[in-house]
Subunit: 241 residues, 2 copies
């Protein structure tokens, strides 16, 4: 008896489908290896295509492929932030974080490799792509805060929190994905509110934002829970007043 | 009348002095240009020495010089964090931040170039140096919090704040060094306390840390001021309780 080797199901892909197939293959490799350890041969093998075909789509070689993969990941990330301007702010932030953290969870080490840099392939162009994602996230948040002209303190607070979320994501991947995603998400929302409240102590614009935001929250929502959990912790500090 | 060209004051430097002179020259160049735009010729010219001499000290060329400059900056940064374990925590944090922010102020664009990466010279080794600084900062803070075995939430909170401080420093450099340094420092301290208090709502260890820390603070100190400024902002949120 002769056993037949399985033949690859073959179908003609459009240019866009082929490009997207190659980017998926590249992203899956970047997810488990540092970019400098991924060759075009590897991408060709993973995608089940010839090396010349990879070069036809990415004539600039690895650098071009890496940038295209990063651009594709950045687009996907920016989609995470889109959220309708309805309901309590903490709910909107939760929804956006859910999508963002799902992306982190799915891309795993590739998220670190792509967004953290630390690669010989990194250039000012790739840095600009990553910074673009951060800026887009900040713009989305500021839009939800309904501030026409956000001042420097409010902007800095938002941007600091975004960096902190990135750091938390990398630590979370590093620490075997603990705590569970929904707990991490709720905690990140609480951190945002805490940072904003502290800034509100120094900045009238942030104070208005906090006042308006808290008015939309309810006792049985996340802010009610936070308030009830935090009050006992600070109740012993009456000597500060 | 003939005017004499000024002659370079010449003195024999020890190996250590020469090395340090070359690193200073490199750092001053990295402060105004991206690392990939700094050549060994530039370093030789800035230091007023011959190119072969630069190569004698850094036979590995630009990569070695860059790593040595980064290592030297990292050592200097780590020195900023050393603070005796005395007095209120906010005062200790203020003192460490004063030194750190003075470093940022002094090295300016070089701080971004060296610590932010985004350079073709960046490798896993330089990333490790920068991560080492972040880890050292976290260790210092955890020591001051007097926690023998910090749990994941407390560690994550501290590391998130350190990343946020880094982000704030880069934004501060970007925004023409506004607000003034002492205001930025006080605000960063307040952000730390706010993050820690929010975490304390979910984590018993962090709650003990907050309780112990607040007990050391006084009404006329920064925490008293923060409490009095924040209370009016949240006083309208009684519906959450």
């Amino acid at each position: 008896m002769t056993s037949q080797a399985p033949t690859r199901a073959y179908r003609r892909l459009s240019v866009e489908e082929r490009r997207s197939q190659l980017l998926d293959a590249a992203l899956s490799l970047f997810a488990v290896r540092a970019p400098e350890e991924v060759s075009l041969d590897d991408v060709a093998e993973t995608a089940g295509v010839s090396r010349p075909l990879v070069y036809r789509y990415f004539p600039g070689g690895k650098q071009q492929l890496y940038e295209a993969a990063l651009r594709s990941a950045a687009d996907e990330l920016e989609h995470c932030f889109a959220e309708p301007p309805e309901g309590p702010l903490t709910l909107r932030l939760s929804n956006a974080l859910d999508r963002y953290l799902a992306f982190v969870d799915q891309h795993d080490a590739g998220f670190s490799a792509l967004l953290q840099g630390g690669s010989v392939i990194e250039t000012s162009r790739t840095t600009a792509i990553v910074d673009g994602v951060r800026r887009a996230a900040a713009e989305h948040i500021l839009t939800h805060l309904e501030v026409a002209e956000p001042g420097p303190r409010l902007r800095m607070t938002v941007r600091m929190w975004i960096t902190a979320v990135e750091a938390a994501s990398l630590i979370w991947l590093d620490e075997e994905k603990e705590p569970p995603l929904d707990e991490l998400r709720d905690w990140l929302v609480e951190q945002f509110v805490a940072c904003l409240v502290a800034t509100a102590g120094r900045d009238a614009q942030s104070a208005s934002v906090v006042t308006a935001a808290l008015a939309m929250e309810s006792a049985d929502g996340p802010m009610g829970a936070l308030a009830r959990r935090v009050l006992p912790v600070v109740s012993g500090a009456a000597h500060l007043l």
